[in-house]
Symmetry: C2
Subunit: 205 residues, 2 copies
């Protein structure tokens, strides 16, 4: 190998991400990787253990990119001086929707991937990535001091909002390019966020 | 063929459902079907067009079974005289959770299936099945006369609740058999339903 271990890993990861984005997990094949990266099949296994673990690594990068997109949204909102939590959460939901649309195949492969196929330490890292994402939403809820929730409720609410928007987005995605798709992913997200926020108890002023 | 067309279709559908339940859509193979059903591969294509359409038919039956489970839940609630909408919706969410757990592989294959692979008339029938399911939830919301929503808002709210519970259930399912799974699918559903219902405007008494 002309490249060092890190550079080769990096290249294999990028090729793997491209293959999954093109054709899902079924398109991630050792022989194709080996040909495209110009290294032996055995080297891929040496570097990543097996294809499941390689897919897990690709997924973690996708989660990082989603986290980056969320951080950019927060920064934009801060710069624009938007403090209304409903408006902010709707911007996060839109970020998620756009991310899923832009990475449809890779995201579907991530959802179908079971982290339990990875060794324990990798699972923990995977969970950490998810927690970081939930924490972005929790941080938004903490901005509204009138919400009467302790921190464990706030974290639970962040998961509820996250999973609910996720459910709305993927149910909508299933109807992509079909007549009824317009029928309301945006409207559903708006109703969810607005109604849920209104339903949270407030502290007495 | 010793059996008539309907009986043969029925048998192929049952075998197909079993294959998908065992190993997902990738496990649905014409040759296996032909061997198990004792008919020629060509007959399967004659009956169903192609494997995508066969999978679509299997999915419609799964949706029907979910609808039946929902109807049974409504009947049980009615017999028990439960009129509180929150309690009723939580019972529906539990029905959904149990259904997804009992049919994990088949349900995952249904979610990964794109109805747009079927011809237009079959797509319409597929959408009808989904509408029937949403309608079960809308009917529950209509029971609470204090909710200040016209019928189009009620139908939108039914979709929001459906997709949100769906998102919570599948995010939870991804962590099945892992340490943090207990961490709250039930709690999340409870918070979602309770908070969402509280957030809906009420008519003045």
């Amino acid at each position: 190998m002309a490249l060092d271990r890190d550079e080769t890993s990096e290249r294999v990861l990028e090729i793997a991400a491209g293959l999954i984005a093109e054709g899902g997990a079924a398109n991630l094949k050792a022989r194709t990787l080996s040909q495209k990266a110009g290294i032996a099949v055995g080297s891929i296994y040496n570097l990543f253990g097996d294809l499941d673990q390689l897919h897990g690594q690709v997924n973690m990068r996708l989660l990082d990119r989603l986290g980056d997109a969320g951080a950019r949204t927060a920064a934009t909102l801060n710069r624009s001086g938007v403090s209304d939590v409903r408006t902010r959460l709707l911007a996060f939901a839109r970020t998620y929707l756009e991310f899923v649309q832009a990475n449809a195949t890779g995201w579907a492969a991530l959802l179908a991937f079971s982290p339990s196929r990875m060794p324990e330490p990798a699972q923990a890292t995977y969970d950490q990535r998810l927690d970081t994402l939930f924490e972005l939403i929790a941080a938004e809820l903490r901005l509204d001091k009138s919400l009467d929730m302790d921190d464990s409720r706030i974290r639970l609410a962040a998961r509820v909002l996250w999973s609910s928007v996720h459910g709305i987005v993927i149910n909508g995605a299933g109807r992509r390019q079909r007549s009824r798709q317009a029928e309301g992913v945006g409207d559903q997200i708006d109703m969810l966020v607005t109604t849920f926020l209104k339903g949270i108890d407030r502290r007495p002023a």
